[in-house]
C-alpha cells in the first residue's frame, strides 16, 4: 500500500511542478491600475484631464514630470516657440517619484506624486498680464506655496520656458 501511494504522491508533485511551470503565473504581470500614482487631495484643476505638452526626468532626484496644459496653453505651446502664453492659459507640472517598472527591466514609471505646480496667466485690470504660481505637495496633496506677481518667479519662468514635445 505504502509504495504505490508514495508513487502517486511523487507523480502529483511532478505534475504540479510542470503545471506551475506552464501556467507562467507571474505577479509582475497581474492586472492593476497604478493607484499609487493617483493625484489625491484638493487641486484646483485635474491635470490628468488635460493634454500633454512635454515631460522630463530628473535622475538625480529619482523623479519624472509631465507638463500638462489647459486648451489655451496647449494650443499656444504647440504653435509658438516663445514663452508668451495668452491670458487664461494654465500649465500644470506633475512630478512623481519614480519606481522600477515591474514589467520591464530597463524602464522607470510613476510612483507616488511628489508635487503638482500650476502656473496661470491672468490679465489684470490694466490689461497687463500677471502670473500666479501654486505648488501642492504631500499626501494628500496640499497647497505649500502660492505667489502672484507681474513678473513670473524663477520656477514659474522655467515651467513657462519648457517647449512642447514634437508630436507630428
Amino acid at each position: 500500500m505504502r509504495a504505490p501511494m508514495k508513487c502517486t504522491g511523487l507523480l502529483c508533485a511532478g505534475l504540479l511542478v510542470i503545471a506551475a511551470g506552464c501556467s507562467g503565473a507571474n505577479s509582475r504581470v497581474a492586472t492593476h491600475i497604478n493607484q499609487e500614482a493617483a493625484l489625491t487631495g484638493n487641486l484646483p484643476y485635474n491635470p490628468l484631464a488635460w493634454k500633454v505638452i512635454t515631460s522630463w526626468i530628473d535622475e538625480q532626484n529619482g523623479t519624472m514630470s509631465t507638463l500638462f496644459g489647459n486648451d489655451a496653453a496647449v494650443q499656444y505651446a504647440r504653435n509658438n516657440s516663445g514663452h508668451d502664453y495668452p491670458s487664461g492659459a494654465v500649465l500644470a507640472a506633475v512630478t512623481w517619484s519614480q519606481q522600477e517598472d515591474p514589467r520591464w527591466f530597463g524602464a522607470g514609471i510613476p510612483s507616488s506624486p511628489k508635487s503638482v505646480e500650476f502656473v496661470s496667466v491672468i490679465k489684470g485690470a490694466d490689461q497687463k498680464p500677471s502670473w500666479s504660481y501654486e505648488k501642492y505637495e504631500g499626501s494628500p496633496l496640499k497647497e505649500s506655496s502660492k505667489a502672484e506677481a507681474s513678473v513670473p518667479g524663477d520656477r514659474a519662468a522655467w515651467l513657462l520656458a519648457q517647449r512642447a514635445a514634437v508630436m507630428p
Binding site: G24, I33, L48, W50, D58, M64, W104, F105, I109, P168
Partner: protein, 324 residues
Amino acid sequence: MATGSPRAKAVVWIAVLLCIVFIGIQFIRPAIENPPVTAEIQAPPAVKQILRSSCYNCHSDETKLPWYDQVAPAYWLAERDVEKGRMALNFSEIGELSAAQQKGLLFEAINQIQLGVMPLPAYRAIHPGSAVTPEQLEILRAYLHPPAPKQAAPQAQVQAADAQYEAWQHAANAIPAVQPEPNGIAFIPDYKNWRVISSTDRFDNHTMREILGNEIAIKAIAEHRINPWPDGTVFAKVAWAQQPDAQGISHTGAFVQVELMIRDQKKYAATKGWGWGRWRGADLKPYGRDASFAHECVDCHKPVRKNDYVYTAPLAGQGTGGQQ
C-alpha cells in the same frame, strides 16, 4: 499456456509493432549542427556561466542536448526550439551586431526571464537546473544596469532636435499625409489630443515615452474594465530621445516614433485582438515592410498576454474634474 491465447498474441504483436515504429522514427532526424562560433558574446565569466547553463542550448551554436532530448519525438521538439531560438538570439553570433543592438537584445532577454517566459516553461520543467534563480537574475540585472551619471547631450544631437522642432512648429496646423501600415492600420493624427495613461523612462534605450488613450480607454480605466480592454480602445505610445541638459535633467529631444494598439477582438483576431502600428521619424514612415511585421509586435508583448498583451499599468484619475 498464456502465450497460446489469441489475445496475448495480439498484445505481443502490438508491442512489437510499437517497438518497430519507435525505432523507425529515430531515423527521422533533422540535423542539429553546431557551426563554428564566430562572434560570441563578450561578458564577465559570472554572466556567461548563467547564459551557458540556461540559454546556450537553444540560443548558441554550442547546443549540447542531454540523452533524453536525443530520442524522438523529444528530439524533434528540441530541433524546432534550437532553430527558432538561434534565429531570435544567438550568443555565438551576437558580436556581429552594434553595441546598442546587443544591449537591446540583452535587456529583452532579461525581461523574458524576469516575466517567466524564458527558458521556455516546458523546457524548464524537463531540464532541472535550467531555470534562472533569483540570485542569477540579480547578476544579469547588475551587469546591464551599472549606475552611470548622465552626460549633457552632444551639440549635434541638440541641433538636430532643434531643427526638427522648428520644422514641426511651422507645419503645426497641417495634417500630414501619412501612409497606413502594410496590415491596413491607418495613422490617427488626433492621438496627440488624448489623455495621458502613463509615462516611461526607458533608460535601456535612452528614450522617454508618454502613453495616451482615447475616450474609450479612459472610460475603461474609470470603470476598472482593463482586462480585457473593450473594443474601440486605442493606445498611442509616443517616444522621444532623452536629451539631458547641463543639470542632468533629461528633456524630450527628437521625436522617435508613435505606436498604436487598436482593440477589435474580431477584426484583429489573428494578432491577439489588437491592431498594431508604428510610424517612425518626423515624417511618420510606416515601420512594417509587409503585413507580417505585426507578429514582431505580438512576440514582444507575449510575456504580458495574461494582462491582455498590455505592458502599461494605467494611472488612475483621468476621467474626473476636467474643468478648464
